[in-house]
């Protein structure tokens, strides 16, 4: 486990990262937004639809900083990669397509079999546009 004072050091390193290209890429708004640990984890939890307790939040925040401190070593490579295109895949495959022909698929019953709530042969979900 990283000790408390080390965490805050690594956080400074990443969040206020001074003088590197990374800084110019971070909008000042997001720096402010994430400037406090609690707000940061709360925001991430909201984006990811996770329920996170306060204790979990503290731990996750520390571990996030620990991990960010490690992966920060990629900055060492900035000069080597500046001219490279990013790789999001390594197959070299492009535009794999087929004729749009209908073929047999799961029956409605099979598709619904694992659902916790159904109604009239449909998935039943909580309302998303309710006012309450």
């Amino acid at each position: 486990m990283v000790k408390k004072h080390e965490i805050s050091k690594s956080k400074d390193l990443i969040i206020s990262s001074t003088g590197t290209t990374a800084r110019s890429e971070i909008s000042s708004a997001s720096v402010t937004y994430f400037s406090d640990d609690k707000t940061r984890i709360k925001h991430i939890a909201e984006l990811a639809a996770l329920d996170i307790t306060q204790d979990e939040g503290v731990k996750l925040s520390q571990q996030l900083d620990e991990t960010l401190a490690y992966i920060n070593n990629l900055k060492d490579l900035d000069n080597l990669v500046s001219q490279l295109e990013p790789s999001s895949q390594i197959t070299g495959l492009e535009n794999i397509s087929r004729e749009d022909e209908p073929s047999p698929s799961l029956s409605q019953d099979e598709a619904l079999k694992n659902a916790k709530a159904t109604q009239n042969g449909l998935f039943k979900v909580k309302g998303v546009l309710n006012n309450d």
Partner: protein, 478 residues
């Protein structure tokens, strides 16, 4: 006489064809071994699915086909499958409570291919939940233990599959690797694990971890069995648009050939990282000398330090994890997101952060550029050498509990397999001996994309040349 469950696929096939025993006998022997040892190693998800009756009826069916002289590559062979492969009508949890009651309505392509080849699905193996980890300690169904010493970890995420093969609970098993999840547990359990080229084996029906990396592959007792299984599993799939177009190799392994003679084997000192276990290092260096004596040319190469691959992998994988796990909303199948374990939450949090507005360039994009650097690095290396060799894991199997509170346990444990995974290259772990404490040591052989043929041949030649080494006679004491 040898117990039937300890046979290799090749030996079992010969026995079945000669009618020395039936698929039923073979299957019963595996089930008896599971009954005997799985309380100690927990390699299978309980209750074991499929049921006893299902397994036996599949074996009986295979026996019928055998008696009519049907020739299928895996006819009557009991095989265990990692629990992140969808199996029609058979519970598939990926070792997460979120999928505790999930019964897939279809088979993963890998499972379909096994069935079409006549295999008997004997059970679903334990793993790190969602394949997040290198210990199986993140499983919601209890950790698997290393069959060689149950106080130690089997590695992961395919730890259940590797342990099941090492403990002779199955003739062979299927695993999946994102970066290390086949090779590392194979190394820690002393078995053969092959990660094919990304796209060589279909991902359709595999519960996704990181879609640009996930590669299903075989975990077996010998290299020959690995080749045999790869031939069954590999190929394009209309349900997975990322499957590779080049034709599938034959992967036949000739008993005698001169593949090793003048073969250029690249060794990078960067892979003998600071802090590497001394016994692991000396065992791998000794194996390199053996290959040199067999006629190989050892060539020093310099590869990008693996610690950068760990960072690239951590960012890309966790970003893809956060995106892939977004689908689990408990509506169509599975339970509530509240049931995600600690490790899944940790990975979702970093992935969501690295993809979020304002941070994308700093993390994901920087990692994607460094990924290009690593891909180019290997391409340059393969202009000079035919294969690259190194330790699979920098450590011996660690003690149970080692992954607790370690924010990046999985990623650090897999540091030596991450670079080749990021570049989509094939790699195989083969056992090369034991430590003084009787824990297995493994070595990996990496090839260029689609060089499974060469990787398997080199591994096979090494295995044959060292077939009489004393350590190979050892069996786990369970």
């Amino acid at each position: 006489m040898t117990e039937l469950n300890s046979l290799t696929i090749k030996q079992a096939k010969e026995g079945l064809i000669k009618r020395e025993f039936s698929s039923f006998d073979l299957t019963e022997a595996c089930l008896a071994q599971i009954e005997k040892v799985d309380k100690k190693i927990n390699a299978f998800i309980k209750p074991i699915a499929p049921t006893y009756d299902d397994v036996v009826s599949a074996a009986r069916k295979a026996d019928k086909l055998l008696s009519s002289n049907q020739d299928l590559p895996l006819l009557g062979i009991p095989i265990a499958v990692k629990d992140n492969f969808s199996t029609m009508g058979i519970r598939t949890t990926a070792s997460s409570k979120v999928l505790d009651d999930y019964i897939p309505p279809y088979d993963a392509t890998v499972v379909k291919k096994l069935k079409d080849a006549g295999a008997v699905l004997i059970g679903k193996t334990n793993m790190d939940a969602w394949a997040h980890g290198s210990s199986t300690e993140t499983s919601d169904y209890g950790s698997t233990k290393n069959p060689w010493n149950t106080k130690h970890l089997p590695g992961g995420s395919s730890g259940g599959s590797a342990a099941a093969v090492a403990a002779d609970e199955a003739i062979a098993a299927i695993g999946s690797e994102t970066a290390g999840s086949i090779r590392q547990p194979a190394s820690w359990c002393g078995v053969v694990g092959l990660k094919p080229t990304y796209g060589r084996v279909s991902r359709y029906g595999v519960i996704a971890m990181a879609s640009s990396l996930d590669s299903p592959g075989p975990i077996t007792k010998t290299v020959e069995d690995s080749a045999l299984l790869l031939r069954v599993l590999a190929g394009t799939d209309e349900f997975d648009a990322t499957t590779s177009l080049p034709p599938v190799g034959d992967y036949t392994l000739p008993v005698v050939d001169n593949k090793i003679k003048n073969l250029k084997i690249g060794i990078s000192d960067e892979y003998f990282i600071d802090g590497i276990d001394k016994e692991v290092e000396s065992a791998v260096r000794l194996s390199i000398e053996k290959l040199e004596k067999m006629g190989a040319k050892i060539v020093k190469i310099n590869l990008v330090k693996p610690k950068y691959a760990t960072s690239v992998y951590t960012i890309i994988q966790r970003s893809e994890v956060s995106s892939n796990l977004a689908r689990y909303d408990g509506v169509r199948f599975g339970k509530d997101r509240k049931l995600f374990g600690e490790e899944a939450k940790r990975r979702i949090v970093l992935g969501t952060y690295s993809l979020s507005s304002g941070y994308y360039n700093q993390y994901y994009n920087r990692a994607a550029k460094a990924r290009s650097l690593i891909v180019n690095d290997f391409e340059k290396a393969f202009e000079k050498v035919n294969v690259i060799l190194g330790p699979t894991s920098p450590s011996l199997p660690l003690h149970a509990g080692a992954s607790e509170n370690a924010a990046m346990f999985g990623e650090i444990a897999d540091i030596l397999v991450e670079p080749s995974s990021i570049a989509g290259l094939p790699g195989i772990n083969i056992p090369i001996g034991f430590s003084k404490s009787m824990l297995p040591i493994g070595m990996q052989i990496i090839g260029r994309q689609f060089a499974e043929d060469l990787v398997l041949q080199v591994a096979h030649q090494y295995e044959m040349a060292t077939a009489n080494e004393n350590w190979r006679k050892k069996r786990p004491n369970l």
